[in-house]
Symmetry: C2
Subunit: 340 residues, 2 copies
């Protein structure tokens, strides 16, 4: 592979002249040499070595997309929401002249190591991080970082892009209520540390309260959010004949699994049970009945992530920023009026 030196030798000029031509510093070079060098660049198909450039210029033109999970073999890209978000981000990163390096990680300890390894200019965490994790990452990270779908109250320096989770929980629950439902459950991976889910739950509670509807402890169903989890849950709900008429789930794929599981045991959505999901994936339209869902604009989310990151990269020591994107209820076919 041709290097600057090769081109310089062939052209009979110094390396710097070639470098200047390649980097568009045309003011410093005569037209004739520019022409000469450009020809040689084409002839030898010269391509700059970005590792070398990264070494000197302190900018690698590399942006890292990080996914973290407890299972080392987990395939994040079976999750359509993550997949779509990632695809949009890759496009935007590329359009802005950067390269995307992707990495799924296990322990958070070494995340910053990876960023340092490649001297990346910025990073985006696609999966939810707890506050303590965010603090630790920001402590050790060598570059700006955007956290997607995370919350941080303590850390004032964090860059965060998320959705209005409270509103999501609220409008879904309110939709149930407006349809006459009184016994409404909430299903998702609820935990103290997962603020995303906690906020949706708060929204759910707020809607109940507003309507003077009672909340019972067994309305909160803790579950993971895979299709299989939904399947199990749906069967169980149908069997136990829980005294509820509607369920809000924190993920579309969970709702879809739930729908199928319930059907297996004779409980049909929306006739016997109303259902609302979260994310608003294309998937909602593919299943039958079509899934009513709190939908977010993934393209907009990707755009916010990349914009925020670029801004932080260009202005050293930017202060913390939280971007909260709107959600809306996409009404489809899984919520029936309730006449009890």
């Amino acid at each position: 592979m041709a290097t600057l030196k090769d081109i310089a030798a062939e052209a009979g000029v110094s390396v710097m002249t070639v470098s200047n031509v390649i980097n568009g510093n045309h003011k410093k070079v005569s037209q004739t040499t520019i022409q000469l060098i450009n020809d040689l660049v084409k002839k030898y198909n010269y391509v700059p070595n970005l590792s070398a450039r990264s070494l000197t210029s302190k900018s690698s033109k590399l942006i890292a997309i990080i996914l973290s999970n407890s299972d080392p073999l987990y395939n994040y890209f079976t999750n359509p929401y993550l997949s779509e978000l990632f695809g949009e981000i890759e496009t935007l990163v590329r359009k802005n002249g950067y390269f995307t390096i992707i990495r799924s990680v296990l322990q958070l300890d070494n995340v910053s190591d990876i960023l340092k390894n490649w001297n990346v200019d910025g990073a985006i965490f696609l999966t939810h991080q707890e506050e303590s994790a965010i603090d630790h990452i920001l402590d050790t990270a060598p570059c700006p970082i955007v956290f997607v779908d995370s919350y941080t109250e303590s850390n004032k320096n964090a860059l965060v892009v998320g959705t209005d989770d409270f509103k999501g929980g609220y409008i879904a629950t309110k939709h149930f209520i407006q349809n006459g439902h009184k016994k409404i459950a909430f299903a998702g991976p609820y935990s103290e540390t997962n603020k995303i889910i906690a906020h949706r739950f708060e929204g759910y509670l707020a809607a109940l309260k507003e309507a003077n509807l009672p909340y019972q402890e067994d309305y909160l169903i803790c579950t993971n959010t895979s299709y299989e989890d939904g399947l199990v849950l749906g069967r169980e709900i149908a069997n136990r004949k829980l005294d509820i008429t509607a369920i809000f789930t924190t993920a579309d794929i969970l709702a879809i699994g739930l729908m199928e599981g319930a059907k297996c045991n004779g409980c049909f959505v929306p006739n016997d049970l109303s259902l609302i999901g979260f994310d608003g994936l294309q998937l909602c339209n593919l299943v039958s009945p079509k899934l009513t869902s709190v939908s977010q604009n993934v393209q907009q989310k990707a755009d916010s992530c990349v914009q925020l990151l670029l801004k932080a990269m260009n202005s050293k020591h930017m202060k913390g920023t939280t971007v909260t994107l709107d959600v809306e209820l996409a009404i489809r076919q899984t919520c029936n009026p309730c006449h009890n």
Copy 2:
């Protein structure tokens, strides 16, 4: 960020000694210095700069995943098959100690430039490439490359991982025939240059021929493979009342769209029309009726890709190899017996 030099200075030894310790060349270093240096590495949280390493060592530990398409804004990751395949590959790449750099590209011209930019050790093309493109890429590429879902007859040096497309077309069509269907259509992005689809079509034809069923020109329906394409096609088929009882489509998502479109115009799968898709995605089980599909093992495919690439990377000038993975028919609910 601490460098080798920093550690060396603090330890009062030379840079090379530190380098040797870090790279595990322990035979050349005394136990005491090893201990000393390891402590300092921890203390300063030293992380090797892989760009610098890449410069000297001629190995970047970087593997590029390439996606190519004519639309610069196309989000490949709305395609569940590509997403899942990519996710599996990233996992395997990581497990083998490499980093994944991902890039979607427009024109094929500059693909090799990207590989050269980062001095990548290997690359995987996830999307179908025509033979001429493969030839050109292999001509200019600086590293081994695996092409997924492509065919090459001319180029004996190509590394290719694909599925038994002929068999896929054959077993799907045969399944229709065994269920009494005689008028069977084929829908997909058929073209002279897309060998993938051509092979599936050949399998389809072979099954017809074997059963002495006539093939008519209008049995071949050329279409792209998005959900929306299926929607349009389904409506059209229902309206035109094409004289067919079954359709084999070259992608699940196309079949699902078709099913929905047909339903809109009063044509119900499988009662009025039998349907078989291709890929065997999880999606097949989410739709109703569940989609019968020619299914491939995506994990196995990812594994083959990475294994083949690593093998090629470790043995300079490996000869061309084609890995063809098996397919099988996953029978679900979209093919009814035909009693005409």
